[in-house]
């Protein structure tokens, strides 16, 4: 019955330990040393420390202190650090958080740095991914790794249902799902769309041409014909019994269930390539494949996710901080990150590596990355996406019709965006 989440205690203690360690390290540094502070999240935070010796070798007298944040607490810690004016020089930021930190004036514009850089060639980056780092026309981040969602599917079960290839459009997809459901029977399903994740529906919604917010991101645009078409398609999958109306908490082990054929399609991201290879039962190794996300009529777009390097506007070593970003953005550094974590590189040149180019599961991602779209760039977006998930959940359970869900969603989005409209009217924000 403790009001504080018990889960938050452990990372905090670890965080404190790291903090003390870095303080102790700071004390022993020579007075002439420049100390750059770098914060990174989760596994990337562990791996990045191993990439830094090369930077310190070429920059004598510079030390980089890395602090690792757990993903679950990263957002809170970054906001708290901002409020306490202790943001590090360089930090990793999920690219959907960039609008929020730009609204806080916490980030340094990077156009001037990137414009004259030898190492960071912006044309080499996937367009949709780079776009997430621009607010207005200003660049605030340099993509570090990418994340998008596409199809993971059981090739054997799809073949059993009479199809040799992955579906490319929604009508084809619905046909395949229906056929798979027919072959697997009453107790198994064709696809898993966890009701507690907004990403699958969001990816499908981004494929349409109508934007999700309208009038300069000041109002919701969910009553557009395009979004209602997406929601109908999504809900229809459940209505026809092709997907179980479950959340992730009900699926105790996604890999086991996928291995057992409880579902044949799953929309997920690059980290699951490694997980599927490691965790699937041996008899289905090689029986699965990845495929780009089908669109309304032909291959569709998906979410431009991932993390970027950003520079704190309060940093006192901006030139050095940029050199660190440049160093970590080199294609070979991105390949090293891929080798250690499976994170996919955002630069086309980094993909020319033999290991990555030869990975059959990564191929669909390479293809998909040319078709990724940013989500609306407002600080309130994540909250609106959560409302979208809740409305879709209602529609799936049959409580709301498609039109009711869309109307309700617009009303909620408009309410969430109220402060933004007020600030725009005052000329205080873009």
């Amino acid at each position: 019955m403790m009001p504080a989440p018990a889960a938050a205690h452990l990372p905090r203690r670890r965080f404190l330990g790291l903090l003390l360690a870095s303080l102790a390290a700071g004390c022993t540094a020579r007075a002439s040393d420049s100390v750059l502070r770098l914060w990174a999240m989760g596994r990337e935070g562990e791996v990045v420390a191993g990439l830094l010796p090369g930077f310190e070798r070429t920059h004598p007298g510079v030390r980089v202190v890395v602090q690792q944040l757990p993903w679950t607490a990263a957002h809170e810690k970054l906001l708290t650090a901002f409020a306490g004016e202790s943001l590090p020089d360089v930090f990793q930021l999920g690219n959907t958080w960039i609008p929020e930190f730009v609204a806080l004036n916490a980030l340094e514009p990077l156009d001037a740095y990137a414009g004259t850089s030898r190492d960071v060639d912006l044309a080499d980056y996937f367009g949709g991914i780079l776009e997430t780092n621009r607010i207005g026309s200003t660049l605030y981040g340099v993509p570090w790794y990418v994340d998008t969602r596409l199809l993971f599917y059981r090739r054997d079960l799809v073949a059993q249902a009479g199809f040799s290839d992955a579906p490319r459009s929604w009508p084809e997809w619905m046909d395949v799902l229906t056929a798979v459901k027919k072959t697997v029977g009453a107790n198994r399903y064709a696809i898993l769309l966890p009701l507690n994740e907004f990403e699958p529906l969001l990816a499908l919604a981004l494929q349409q041409s109508a934007p999700l917010l309208r009038d300069g991101n000041r109002f919701g645009n969910f009553e557009s014909a395009d979004f209602r078409r997406t929601l109908s398609f999504y809900v229809e999958i459940f209505r026809r019994g092709l997907a179980p109306p479950l959340t992730n908490a009900d699926i105790s082990n996604v890999w086991n269930e996928f291995g057992r054929g409880y579902f044949s399609f799953y929309i997920s991201g690059p980290w699951n390539i490694g997980e599927f290879e490691r965790r699937l039962p041996p008899e289905v190794r090689g029986a699965w494949m990845t495929a780009p996300l089908p669109g309304p009529d032909g291959p569709g777009a998906s979410i431009a996710g991932g993390s970027s390097f950003v520079m704190s506007s309060a940093s006192r070593h901006k030139a050095l901080a940029w050199q660190l970003i440049e160093y970590l953005s080199q294609p070979e550094m991105q390949r090293a990150l891929y080798a250690a974590t499976g994170d996919l590189p955002p630069r086309r040149s980094a993909w020319r590596d033999s290991k990555l180019a030869g990975d059959p599961y990564a191929r669909a991602f390479r293809d998909q990355l040319e078709r990724v779209k940013p989500t609306p760039k407002v600080p309130e977006w994540e909250r609106i996406a959560t409302e979208m998930r809740l409305a879709a959940e209602r529609a799936v359970h049959g409580d709301w019709s498609i039109d009711r869900a869309a109307a309700e969603l617009d009303a909620r989005a408009d309410r969430i965006l109220d402060k933004r409209r007020y600030l725009i009217a005052r000329g205080a924000t873009r």
Binding site: M2, A6, A7, A249, S252, P379, R394, L423
Partner: protein, 291 residues
């Protein structure tokens, strides 16, 4: 002079209460009258004083009322259930026929000291629709599998069951201590008069235990109103927000969406609610047991 000395003695405690209780409450009250959000964090010039709008918005939000109803559901079902289980276990432990008393006392208290997050993982397996032990057992009784955590009708009962299991040991220990203070002669006299076990329970145990029961129920009600950790680790407030509690709503508003104004308003409403209920309970208890 005496009075002044007395004040000096309580001064440290009062100072602590002021700094850690009255000040935050006052700050929360002020914050709840503004629309503090990340824009205000960027620049305090973006902060608007909105008067009672947060409260009015809250009252007009269906989710808030849903959270209130969910919390009341949890308290009204959970507290009596929890007290009954605690009392039953305390009586069993106190029974003269009980063997290995120390062992059972420790075993029954164990859930209280285990980590909630760790046991939640196990309970999620117990509740699993297809492989869960609970549905397996129900299968023998011919009951179809229940989607405990995925069905909006069953999620709250599942949370209540989990919370009661996690917390009953604490009250059990207090009630057990209370039971041991009841003098054996009373039972002897009753037995000589031919009172059955049920009558002894009704006319000796419960009346003698009443002050302890009152204390325990007040603590439990106040604790159960602050439902948060169980849905946080088990269901994240879902499915269909059927396990969204008032405190969970506050957490989401404040720490997920950074709407500290709204979150403070929620916290304040919850505070007043618990305060009112506790005062009511204390008054009732005082009427019954003037001592």
């Amino acid at each position: 002079m005496r009075r002044l000395q007395a004040w000096w003695f309580v001064a440290p405690a009062l100072a602590v209460i002021c700094v850690f209780f009255f000040l935050p409450v006052a700050a929360a009250l002020v914050l709840s009258l503004t629309d503090f959000d990340i824009y205000a964090l960027a620049d305090l010039g973006n902060l608007r004083f909105v008067g009672l709008r947060n409260y009015l918005d809250l009252v007009a939000t269906p989710l808030f009322w849903k959270a209130v109803l969910n919390t009341l559901y949890f308290v009204i079902v959970g507290v009596p259930l929890s007290l009954c289980v605690s009392l039953a276990c305390a009586l069993l432990l106190n029974a003269r026929a009980a063997r290995f008393r120390g062992f059972f006392r420790t075993a029954l208290f164990a859930p209280v000291v285990t980590t909630l997050v760790a046991v939640a993982v196990i309970w999620r397996y117990l509740y699993n629709t297809r492989y869960g032990l609970l549905n397996y057992a129900l299968g023998f009784a011919g009951i179809d599998p229940i989607d405990w955590l995925g069905d909006p009708r069953f999620a709250m009962p599942a949370i209540i069951l989990f919370a009661v299991w996690k917390n009953f040991g604490y009250n059990m220990v207090i009630l057990f201590a209370g039971l041991q203070t009841i003098r054996e002669e009373l039972y002897e006299a009753a037995r000589i008069d031919g009172a059955t076990y049920v009558k002894q329970l009704r006319y000796i145990t419960l009346p003698m235990l009443a002050p302890v029961l009152a204390l325990v129920s007040i603590l439990t009600v106040a604790g159960y109103f602050q439902l948060f950790a169980e849905p946080y680790v088990m269901t994240q407030g879902g499915p269909l927000q059927s396990t969204m509690s008032v405190l969970y709503l506050m957490y989401e508003e404040g720490f997920k969406w950074w709407n500290l104004g709204t979150a403070s308003a929620v916290a304040f409403v919850l505070f007043l609610f618990i305060f009112a209920v506790t005062v009511l309970e204390l008054r009732l208890a005082r009427q019954r047991f003037p001592a």
